[in-house]
Point group: C2
Chain length 360, copies 2
C-alpha cells in the first residue's frame, strides 16, 4: 500500500464504519498468503468477499462456474497472472495466462471456445518484452485451439505493476451428458495424477532465486483440454478433474474432499515426483505436494474405469506419465492422509498460504 | 519497469530477436498513452498485439465480442480497472469495475447475465479498504441485475500494484432481432448523448489533484443496461450504442466513424456539459469532449425514430438529460467535425493518449 499522502488517496478514503471483517487471521492488512490458494485465500473469500458481494454472489465463486445459455451448459472462468519473473525456463506469463484459464475451463469437461485478454502494463516496460509475451500467449491459444476475441489494455505508473499482469477469462461448452465436479466423488474412486508434480513451481523458484540443481528445471506449463477430451472420449465415468495449481496437489485434494465430505488416501511412494524436483524441494525445505503445477491434472475415476482412462492418458503427450496416486475413502471425511515410505501415515493439510508466492 | 537486477528478472529475460515492433511511435517502451484508449492504444493493438497473437486472434479484439453458443448470440467483454484513487466522490473502483463491463456488454444490446471478478491485491493494503470496495462491487452488480459467479485473487508485493486492481469479465445474451454495432451507422442517423458528459473524468481529476471548484464534482458511474433495455423496448431502429469512456466522446465517435466510413457532425452548443465541468476543464486546459465518462452512452438512431427514443430515455433515471448532439453525414468519412459556438467548424480528432490517465 503506497503511503496515502503520495497519491492523494488520503483525502478520499472515507472508511468510517468499514472495519476489518473478522475472523480473518491476525493481520488487518493483505498479506502474501491471501493470494496463495490455501486456507487464507479461502478465509478472504468466505469472510470478506462473499459477505461483501451479498445477494450478487451466486454460489461459491470457485475457479470455474457453470452457466446455462439458451439450454447449453457453459463453463466460465477467470484468472489473473502476476508471476515473477515474467519469463522463465519453459515459458512466460503469456502462455501461463492461456493455459491457466483453459485448464480451469477443461476441469468441467468443456473445450475452451473463446478467451479474453486484459493487460495491465507498467509504464517503461520495453515493448520487446510485451511482444515476446504476447507472442507466447497467441501461440498457446493456437495450441489449445481457442480464440482471443476481446481485450483491454491499461497502463500503470512506473514502479507499480511488475512489467505486465495479464487477466484471461473465457468460456467453453460442456458436452451433453458430461458432469464433472467435486460433488461427484465417490468412495472407492481411483485418484490419478496426469504426470510429474511440482515441476512448474520449482522451475519458477529456481529461476527467481538463481538456484541451480545441475540441470535447469523447465516449467511444464501446458493446456490440458486435449488430454481431457481424450479421457472423456473413452466413455469412462470420470467424476472429478482438478488442476493442482496454487497450493499444489495438497490444496486440490483437500478442496475436493471438503466439498465431497470424503477422504483421500495417498501412497507417498507412488507420487510421481521427478528426482530433480525432489532434490530441489529437499534442499529448500519444501514439500512437493504443496508446490504449484500448471500443466498437470488430478482425476477421480470410477475404479472399474481406471485402467481404461490410464491407458488413454498414456498415449497422449500430456498424460504419458499418468499414474495412480491414491483412492477415495470414507474413513476421514474432508481429510487427505498419505501413507509414508516408512509405513506410517501423515495428514496432508490444506496449506495456510503458499510456500512460493507468485508462481502464476 | 523495476530494475532487472532487483527481482532476478535479468537472468531470465532472453529477448534475443525480440525487437520493438515498429511503427509504434518513438518510444521503445510502454508509456501512459498506450493505456488511454486513443490512437496510441490503437497502435499497440494493431502493431503489437494482433500480429503477436497471430491466427489465435479472432476479429479486431474490440471492447466486446459477439460469440454464438448453441445458436444463441452472446456479448462477451473484459476490462481491468486501475483507477487512482481507488475511492472517489460518487464511487470506487468496485462499482466502476461492474459498471464498465456491464456497459460494454449492454452496448451490444445485451443484458449482463454473469460477471467474473479477479482481484490483484497489494500486500499491506488494509482489509477494511478491500471490504468497502468489494461491498460497492456487490451492490453495483445487484443494481445491474447481474450475478458474480467466479473469481480469482492474487497478491503482489508491497509497493507494487496500487492497493487493488480489479478485472471483471462477463457475458450477456443478445435478444433476437437486435443488431447494434458501428457498421450499422447510416447517413442521416441522429446522434444522441444520454446525459451530461465529462463528469466522471473531472470528478477523478479533482479528487486526485485536490482541486476544488466550489462544489464537489461526483462521478456519475452507473450501469446503463436498464436504459438500453428501455430504448430497445420502444422498437426503434437503434443502429449503434457506445459508452464514451477513455478518450471521451471524441474517441467513441472517431472509432464509430472510422469503422462505418461515415462522418459525424456535432453542434458544440448542443453538447450537454454541466457548468462545473466546463469551468473545471477551462481552468485545466481540458476539452470536455476528450474527458472520460462511465455512466453515459452515445446512440446512433434512425432519424424517424429519434423522438421516440429520446422520449423513452427521458423517463429513465439515467437518460433524463438525454439530448441530440449531432448527425451522421457522408461529407467527411472517418472524421468528426464540430460546429463551434462562433459559427466556425473544427475537427475533433482521435486523441493520441488520454489527457487524464487512470480514470477507470
Amino acid at each position: 500500500m503506497p503511503e496515502p499522502a503520495r497519491n492523494g488517496q488520503a483525502a478520499t478514503l472515507d472508511l468510517e464504519g468499514w472495519a476489518c471483517p473478522l475472523p480473518l487471521r491476525d493481520s488487518p492488512n493483505i498479506v502474501m498468503g491471501h493470494g496463495g490458494g490455501g486456507a487464507m485465500s479461502g478465509e478472504l473469500i468466505e469472510h470478506l468477499f462473499l459477505p461483501a458481494f451479498g445477494a450478487a454472489a451466486a454460489g461459491e465463486m470457485t475457479d470455474s462456474a457453470v452457466v446455462t445459455v439458451g439450454g447449453t451448459r457453459v463453463a466460465f472462468s477467470t484468472d489473473s497472472f502476476v508471476v515473477k519473473p515474467m519469463i522463465f525456463p519453459g515459458g512466460s506469463v503469456g502462455d501461463l495466462a492461456v493455459n491457466g484459464t483453459v485448464n480451469d475451463i477443461a476441469m468441467s469437461g468443456a473445450q475452451p471456445l473463446v478467451l479474453s485478454t486484459a493487460f495491465i502494463l507498467e509504464e517503461g516496460t520495453p515493448l520487446s518484452i510485451i511482444h515476446r509475451i504476447a507472442t507466447d500467449l497467441g501461440a498457446a491459444a493456437t495450441t489449445a485451439g481457442t480464440k482471443l476475441v476481446t481485450g483491454d489494455t491499461k497502463v500503470v505508473d512506473s514502479g507499480h505493476g511488475d512489467g505486465v499482469y495479464i487477466n484471461t477469462s473465457g468460456f467453453g461448452i460442456i458436452p451433453e451428458g458430461v458432469d464433472i465436479r467435486p460433488q461427484r466423488a465417490r468412495p472407492g474412486d481411483t485418484i490419478i495424477a496426469s504426470g510429474h508434480i511440482g515441476v512448474h513451481g520449482v522451475a519458477i523458484l529456481s529461476c527467481r532465486e538463481g538456484l541451480e540443481f545441475g540441470t535447469t528445471i523447465r516449467s511444464d506449463t501446458a493446456a490440458l483440454n486435449g488430454l481431457v477430451a481424450t479421457m472423456i472420449a473413452t466413455g469412462a465415468d470420470i467424476h472429478v478433474l482438478r488442476d493442482p495449481t496454487r497450493g499444489g496437489v495438497a490444496a486440490a485434494l483437500n478442496e475436493i474432499c471438503t466439498t465431497a465430505h470424503l477422504g483421500a488416501a495417498l501412497d507417498e511412494r507412488s507420487l510421481p515426483i521427478p528426482p530433480e524436483v525432489r532434490d530441489a524441494c529437499g534442499l529448500l525445505g519444501l514439500d512437493p505436494l504443496y508446490v504449484a503445477n500448471e500443466g498437470k491434472l488430478i482425476a477421480f475415476v470410477a475404479p472399474d474405469d481406471a485402467d481404461t482412462v490410464l491407458a488413454a492418458m498414456h498415449v497422449h503427450p500430456h498424460g504419458r506419465d499418468a499414474t495412480i496416486i491414491g483412492e477415495v475413502v470414507t474413513e476421514h471425511p474432508g481429510m487427505v492422509v498419505a501413507k509414508t515410505a516408512l509405513g506410517g501415515t501423515r495428514v496432508v493439510d490444506l496449506p495456510a498460504g503458499e510456500q512460493l508466492p507468485r508462481i502464476c
